[in-house]
Each structure stands twice: as structure tokens, then as C-alpha cells.
């Protein structure tokens, strides 16, 4: 491929960068997109928001050629284009950065960028040309990346940058970013947004697909709201608010903030002393963690993903064995290795895991089979090894009723439920046996806004009932909204504790970046 030409300067009367006319798409009985039409002006950042299953991804996959629309037209820069496969989209100047990066981990940055557009038979020529071009792009857009570094050694923020470079190298004028901040630290998110602003200045058009309303407000010029596959709202970003957008997304008024009274902490239920946890590669992931968890409080663990929170949670749940330190539950030490997840559950230590699909459920099983996972040996569900089918069914029906799981069909495969309903079922299962301590990881990841509200209420209700909750979440809003005390983890260490009344995003953000709190 030849080095791309300089982008033309944007003109005000230019046709829109992207125009969708009546895009319609069905997957069997699911109507994923209903006559979606909107335009995106050149040189803007355009947000697309909607709940899980609102049709955002389908729409973008149609624009990028992964799916074909049943009806409708795509116009790019005033020309109708027929997009059958990603190749056509790239030819039309559309680039996409996927949520899960499409990089070859053991290739260098340079090799990844030229992959598929090597240009000629001799790799060396293509690489040399690409190197010159990438250095120019890096200069123009502030996208510096070490070109000869192997991708798997780069932090996620830089890997994402490689994806953006890949698109720009293929002369993308329109860049689609699908949930780009899911894996980024607040700092990396800031960098990404500055990069997007730079791209906009240079006349590129950016489409930001996300469910995080705060980011929409921070970085976009206009925003389109999808609900059940249809466009329900479109507005200039400065004329709307997070609350208004949330209402449009859900279709009714929602409260983003859970109302709660001050905590009344009771006795210590769980004490952790000098805990050290190593992962299966022997890397120390939790260092010298000590804290106490009291009845009637929610203790939040904040931190950027991958700073040891997950391992801490798994060690407390009995999945990982700590290499040092002790965990005391209701006055009794849970000896190393002696108490697995099963024994801890029996003692009253329940666990809602961070990764619902890979850890917390068996998606190929029915809802009722999932509703006993971890409790299959309890007398309520099995006797002399035989499962008690009718008791399991009745228990699942009750949980589905209590937690408003829809559809309330215990026989349905778990994978057929939405993320929010799966999570409600997991929560119901873990709360059902009346645990004293509930360990909760990412309770609302991939959960629609309506269910978020429900789940948050339940968690606060559990606290008010005198139970202790340990909440691990990478969503700062969630920690700030729910926790009574907040511990911040960085690089495996607990770098500080903040009472919820004193906590601000700025303060937590600094601690999450490893700046230790100095005692005043």
C-alpha cells in the first residue's frame, strides 16, 4: 500500500461522513436493528449509547461489514457504499477498534500494523515504508508507540493505540471505537480522549460506542441513543445530561444513585492479616493486605483492573491459596488450604465472582442447574447423593420471583438470559443461603441499567440487614455510590483507606495510580 495522502481539510458544507438510512436487521426472532437512520458530521466525535442488546454492536458490525443488513443503505462522504465484508469498509475509509483487540500477540507493533497490507513480496520493503508512515502518523496525532516492541509486552492502553494506528495506516477517515475504555485506567482513558480530540482536529470522524454515560458527556459532540434496536433519541451532547440519557436508554426514570442511610457497623466478621497471594505463575499479586470487615457495612475495594483485587477476592473465597498471612472469619482462622469454597460457603461466606460467565455460572446448563452451583451438596438440594429435582425447581422458581429474573423459566439455558438476569440469578443464589459475609466482584459488569439499580438496592438492603459486604469494582461510581469505607489497591498493595464521606473521584484516582495517602 502506498503511503496515504494527507487528509483534505474539512469543509462546512461537506456531506456527512457517515449516513445510515433505514438499517434493518433480524437474527431469527430477534429484531436487532429497526429502521435505524442518522447522520454523523465530518470531523466530530459521535456517541452511540444503549443498553446491552440495544443493537449498538450489530449496527457497528453492519457498518464494518461483519453482518449484512436486511434493508437499508450506508452512505460514506456522500456516496452510497455496499459493504459486504470488512475489506469493503476499509476501502471506504472506515476503521474499527474492537473491544477485544485483534492483534497478534507475539508480533511486533510494526508487523501487526502491516498485517494484511504488507505490500509486495519482500516483507522488508513494506516494513520500511510502513515505518516511515507510522512515524509520521505518530507525530501528527500524538500516537507514539515503540514500533519494534512485541505487542504482548505492551500495556493495554498502548495495545489499543496500535489498533488505532492500524486503522489510520489503512487510511481510515471514520474510526469506530467499541467500548474502548473497558480495559483502561482513568489515566489511560484521559489519554485516549485527548487522542480522540486530536483526531477530530485533523478532520477525522470518531464514533464512540459505549454504555458509560460519563464518557459520552466528556468527549462527544453529538449522541444517538438506541433502545430495542431503534433510535429513540438524538441530540447535541451539551444539551443533555447523564440522567436524561439514562432515561432515554431505559425508557423510564432511573435513579443512578442508590439512596442509603449511614452504616451502623457491628462486630468484626472477617479479619485479614498480612495476606500474601501468588497467582499460578508465582507472581505475588497481593502483598501484605490487612483489613477488617464489620457486620452492617459495605467495604469497597477500588483500583484499576489487575492490581490484585481479583486475587484478593479469590483468596478470600477459597479459590486461591494464600502464600502467607491469615484470614479469620467470625473468630475462626480459615487455615491455608483447609477451607475450600465449599467449606466457606457452609460457614456463611458467599461469593459473587467477578466473571459471571467464566466462573460464576455454567452457561450450557439450565437456570435451575445454575441456581444450585456450589450448593449442590446441601441437604435442601441433594439427599444421599441423589439430586432432589422438585426441590431444585421450586427453589429456582422462588429465586426468580424474588429477584425478578426474566423470563422466569427455570428450564431455560442460562446463555439465553440477558447479562442482568444472569447476574440477578447468581446474586439470588449466593444470598439465598443467608451468608454472614458476601464477597461481590463487579456486580454490575455487563448488566443493563434497570438491573443495576435493582442489584444495588439489594446489596444495600443486605447491609442494612446486618450482613457484611466486600465489594470489588473497577467502576469508581459504583464504589462511591455503595461503599461505606473504601480501600484502594495498587500493584497488590492496599495503598490507603478513605471513608465514603471524604471520598472524591480525584482523591481515589490519585491513590489508584499509586500515590500513597500521607497521614494528615
Amino acid at each position: 500500500m502506498d503511503p496515504p495522502a494527507e487528509p483534505a481539510s474539512p469543509a462546512n458544507d461537506a456531506p456527512p461522513a457517515l449516513e445510515l438510512r433505514g438499517i434493518d436487521k433480524r437474527f431469527g426472532p430477534v429484531h436487532a436493528n429497526r429502521a435505524v437512520s442518522f447522520t454523523i458530521a465530518r470531523g466530530t466525535v459521535h456517541g452511540i449509547v444503549g443498553e446491552n442488546g440495544a443493537g449498538k454492536s450489530t449496527l457497528m458490525n453492519i457498518v464494518y461489514g461483519f453482518h449484512r443488513a436486511d434493508a437499508g443503505e450506508v452512505w460514506v462522504h456522500g456516496r452510497r457504499v455496499d459493504i459486504h465484508r470488512p475489506h469493503d469498509a476499509i476501502a471506504a475509509g472506515i476503521g474499527m477498534v474492537h473491544q477485544h483487540f485483534m492483534l497478534v500477540d507475539n508480533f511486533t507493533v510494526l508487523e501487526n500494523v502491516v498485517l494484511g497490507v504488507e505490500g509486495g513480496r519482500r516483507l522488508a520493503d513494506g516494513l520500511a515504508r510502513a515505518r516511515a508512515e507510522l512515524e509520521r502518523l505518530a507525530r501528527d496525532y500524538g500516537l507514539a508507540v515503540p514500533l519494534d516492541a512485541v505487542v504482548e509486552h505492551l500495556p493495554v492502553g498502548l495495545q489499543q493505540r496500535v489498533e488505532i494506528l492500524k486503522a489510520l495506516y489503512r487510511r481510515a477517515e471514520i474510526l469506530i471505537l467499541d467500548e474502548p475504555t473497558a480495559v483502561l485506567t482513568p489515566q489511560e482513558t484521559g489519554q485516549l480522549f485527548r487522542m480522540l480530540a486530536r483526531l477530530r482536529e485533523q478532520g477525522k470522524t470518531v464514533i464512540l460506542v459505549t454504555h458509560k454515560l460519563r464518557e459520552i458527556m466528556a468527549v462527544t459532540d453529538r449522541v444517538t441513543v438506541l433502545r430495542q434496536g431503534a433510535v429513540v433519541h438524538e441530540t447535541a451532547t451539551r444539551e443533555t445530561s447523564e440522567r436524561a440519557l439514562a432515561e432515554k436508554m431505559v425508557g423510564r426514570a432511573v435513579s443512578l444513585q442508590v439512596e442509603r442511610t449511614a452504616a451502623r457497623p457491628g462486630g468484626v466478621l472477617l479479619a485479614v492479616r498480612d495476606l500474601e497471594v501468588r497467582d499460578r505463575f508465582g507472581v505475588t499479586r497481593v502483598k501484605q493486605a490487612s483489613f477488617e470487615l464489620r457486620a452492617g457495612e459495605i467495604l469497597g475495594i477500588a483500583g484499576v483492573a489487575g492490581n490484585g483485587q481479583s486475587e484478593l477476592l479469590e483468596a478470600l473465597a477459597g479459590i486461591l491459596t494464600p502464600s502467607r498471612g491469615e484470614i479469620v472469619f467470625q473468630g475462626a482462622a480459615l487455615m491455608r488450604g483447609g477451607f475450600g469454597p465449599r467449606a466457606r460457603r457452609r460457614l456463611g461466606l458467599a461469593h459473587v465472582p467477578e466473571d459471571r460467565l467464566r466462573v460464576g455460572t455454567v452457561t450450557a446448563f439450565s437456570a435451575q442447574a445454575n441456581a444450585i452451583l456450589g450448593y449442590q451438596d446441601q441437604p435442601a438440594y441433594s439427599r444421599c447423593g441423589l439430586l432432589r429435582g422438585s426441590a431444585i425447581l421450586a427453589g429456582c422458581e422462588r429465586k426468580m420471583r424474588d429477584y425478578d429474573v426474566r423470563p422466569p423459566d427455570p428450564g431455560l439455558r442460562l446463555s439465553a438470559f440477558s447479562g442482568g438476569n444472569q447476574q440477578k440469578l447468581v446474586l439470588a443464589r449466593e444470598i439465598d443461603c443467608d451468608p454472614q459475609v458476601l464477597l461481590v466482584g463487579q456486580p454490575t459488569r455487563g448488566v443493563d441499567i434497570g438491573a443495576v439499580e435493582f442489584i444495588h438496592r439489594r446489596l444495600v438492603g443486605l447491609r442494612d440487614g446486618g450482613k457484611a459486604l466486600l465489594l470489588v469494582s473497577v467502576e469508581l461510581d459504583e464504589i462511591l455510590g455503595l461503599a461505606d469505607r473504601i480501600l484502594v489497591m495498587f500493584n497488590g498493595e492496599i495503598v490507603g483507606e478513605v471513608a465514603s464521606a471524604d471520598a472524591t473521584e480525584g482523591k481515589l484516582g490519585l491513590m489508584m495510580a499509586g500515590v500513597k495517602e500521607e497521614p494528615a
Partner: protein, 370 residues
């Protein structure tokens, strides 16, 4: 977004295998026509050979007995996420256990006392042969497909050694043990039915067939209605979720493989105690491998496995009849037909799944595109 359409359960379990089977038979018919025989005649001969007489049906069910045992063995391992290709070896060694018990006790104990010991020996020897690959997989991560295949060869070598050097009846050339005394014979079903006043012509079909059916019922209860079966399926579907639920995947894998080996050992009852009445070389005769196809075709469900086992029993029995009657269709041709059935029902099942699912989607939501 989910994939377009999913087959209803009855179609997945019933219709899909039948469509696959018909496709395999259609290809077989084409090949038979190609070599100059009439496919329709061949099919009729085959059906008659498999079910045309009481004796034929007896032979079919006798073959099916082996396939039920090995099919169940493959299925149990499969539910735990393990591909046990070693049923052949496990059945071989299970049969050794049966043989040793019979050789040791047949002149001393009555039948009703030998039978339970032989059953336990079949299970224990089969399970023991599965234990080493299972342990290597669970604790050392050695891939079970590789180790079980290798253990088939080891079993074969071991049995050859034992039969040629150790257990051979003194003073004869062929590597076989002496014949058991009749106290160690499983009674044949025709003989049993005869005692009840029902006149059925003789065939190798014996009591082991009923044991195979009982084993199928046991597997059904175990896999779907016990806590251990639930844990086994959880490990098979999602080992991380199993750990989260407090289940130890290595332990469950060991248990699943032991059970699998024990079921495969059941073949020894049918062959050694039921038919041959002695130990001889290669009595499993490939049934361990056919078990893989049977489990695949039977969707790892005991009912499906019984049906698939009867089908393969019919292919075996009807096939030998066919090669007997039609000179141009030899033994290898019959193997080709069996291979086509395995190919269509196992490897190519998704060939028909997608179009069938699309068909169902259209039928359920008429007027909508897919």
C-alpha cells in the same frame, strides 16, 4: 447477538441423527451402485441379515452389548470433558480380569458366586487401566487422548505376552487359555428364555446384554440425577466454575475415567464369560473405537447410546451377511459403509445442523428473513 436459531431438543436428539444416517446410507447406496450391485437389494439383505430371524437379531444384540458398554464409557468421560479413546485397551484388560477370575474359580465355586466376583474384576481391571492416563491428565496435564491411545497398544502387547507366554493352555499352538468350566459361563439369553417356556433359536446373546441395559440405566441416573453427576458435568462444561463451586476438577476427572474404564471392562463379561469362554487374542475386536461413534451418535445419552449401539450391531451383523451373499461386496466394503455412518453421524453432524436450524427458524417465524 446469538446465532440464528437453535434446534428444538427432539430434533437435535432424534431428527438430526436420522438425517445423518440417511445421508450416509444414500452415499453407501451410490457406492454400491457404482460397483455394480443393486443398492435396494443390498439394503434388504442387510436388514434381513440383521433382524430377519431370531438368530440374526440375537447376533445383532450381542454385538450391540459390546457397543453399549464402550459407548457408555466414552460418554461418561465426555461429560467430564475428557475424550477417552482408550476403551479398546480398557475393555481388553477388563476381559483379562474376568478371565483370571474364571480360570481361578471355575472348578471350585458355583456360577452365582463367580458372577459377582467376575463383574467386580471386569470393572476394577478396566478402571485400573484407565487410572494411569487419568492420573497423568489430572495431576500432570498429559493429554488424555495421547495417553489413552498409547495405553491401547500397551494393553495389546501385554495381552499378547500373557497369552503367548503365561496363560496359554499347555501343549497347544494358538495363544488361548483353556476353556472355562461351565460354572463360569454366562447363560445365553435364548437358553434362559427357553427355561421360561419361550422358544428362541440359539445365538451368542447372553446375560451381559441385560447388564449393559442396567449399566445404561445406572449412567442415566448417575449423570443427571446425582450430585456427583452434576459435578462431573460442571467440570466438563466449565472447570473454572467447578473450582468456584468447591469442586476439585482433578478428582472429578479421576472418578470419571475410573467409571469410564469400569464400563468398558463390561465388554469382557460379554465376550469372555458370555461367548468365548476363554481368553484369546483381540476379543474386543475394535468395539472400543466403535464406542466413540456410538457415543457421538447417541448424543452421550444412554437412550441414544442403546439405539446407536443396536444400529451398529445391525451394521456388523447385517454387513457380514451382505458380504456373504453378494460376492462383489466384501468385508472391506462393509467397513466402508460403517465408516460412512461414523463420518456422517460424528464428524459431519454440523453439516446438517445449520440448514435444519434455518429450516426450523423459517417454519416457526414464517415470513421473516433469517
Amino acid at each position: 447477538m446469538s446465532a440464528p436459531g437453535r434446534l428444538p431438543r427432539w430434533a437435535d436428539l432424534g431428527l438430526l441423527p436420522i438425517v445423518s444416517l440417511l445421508a450416509a446410507l444414500a452415499v453407501s447406496a451410490a457406492i454400491i451402485a457404482l460397483i455394480g450391485e443393486n443398492p435396494w437389494v443390498a439394503l434388504r439383505l442387510m436388514a434381513a441379515g440383521a433382524f430377519g430371524s431370531q438368530e440374526a437379531a440375537g447376533y445383532t444384540l450381542y454385538y450391540a452389548t459390546n457397543f453399549i458398554f464402550t459407548g457408555l464409557a466414552v460418554a461418561v468421560a465426555f461429560h467430564a470433558g475428557l475424550f477417552n479413546i482408550g476403551c479398546e485397551g480398557q475393555a481388553y484388560v477388563g476381559g483379562l480380569g474376568v478371565g483370571l477370575v474364571c480360570l481361578g474359580l471355575d472348578h471350585h465355586w458355583p456360577f452365582w458366586a463367580i458372577l459377582p466376583v467376575a463383574m467386580v474384576a471386569a470393572a476394577v481391571f478396566g478402571a485400573a487401566w484407565a487410572f494411569i492416563p487419568a492420573w497423568l491428565q489430572a495431576r500432570r496435564g498429559s493429554h488424555i487422548v495421547i495417553t489413552t491411545i498409547m495405553f491401547n497398544f500397551i494393553a495389546s502387547a501385554l495381552m499378547t505376552y500373557l497369552l503367548v507366554e503365561v496363560l496359554i493352555k499347555p501343549g497347544q499352538q494358538s495363544p488361548e487359555t483353556r476353556e472355562f468350566a461351565s460354572a463360569a459361563w454366562l447363560p445365553s439369553l435364548p437358553a434362559l428364555l427357553g427355561r421360561l417356556g419361550l422358544n428362541v433359536s440359539a445365538s451368542p446373546l447372553n446375560l451381559a446384554f441385560l447388564f449393559a441395559l442396567a449399566a445404561a440405566a445406572f449412567v442415566w441416573v448417575f449423570i443427571w440425577h446425582t450430585r456427583w453427576g452434576y459435578e462431573l458435568r460442571t467440570v466438563g462444561q466449565n472447570p473454572s466454575a467447578a473450582v468456584y463451586a468447591g469442586i476439585s476438577p482433578p478428582r472429578v476427572m479421576l472418578v470419571a475415567m475410573l467409571l469410564s474404564g469400569a464400563l468398558a471392562g463390561g465388554l469382557g463379561l460379554n465376550e469372555v464369560m458370555g461367548v468365548q469362554h476363554r481368553l484369546l487374542l483381540d476379543f474386543p475386536g475394535g468395539a472400543g473405537f466403535v464406542g466413540i461413534a456410538v457415543a457421538l451418535m447417541g448424543r452421550n445419552h444412554p437412550v441414544g447410546i442403546i439405539l446407536a449401539a443396536v444400529l451398529f450391531g445391525a451394521l456388523y451383523q447385517g454387513g457380514s451377511q451382505l458380504s456373504f451373499d453378494l460376492p462383489r461386496i466384501n468385508r472391506d466394503m462393509v467397513v466402508v459403509i460403517q465408516g460412512l455412518v461414523i463420518l456422517a453421524c460424528g464428524a459431519l453432524e454440523n453439516l446438517f445442523r445449520t440448514p435444519l436450524a434455518a429450516l426450523f427458524a423459517r417454519w416457526r417465524h414464517p415470513g421473516e428473513g433469517t
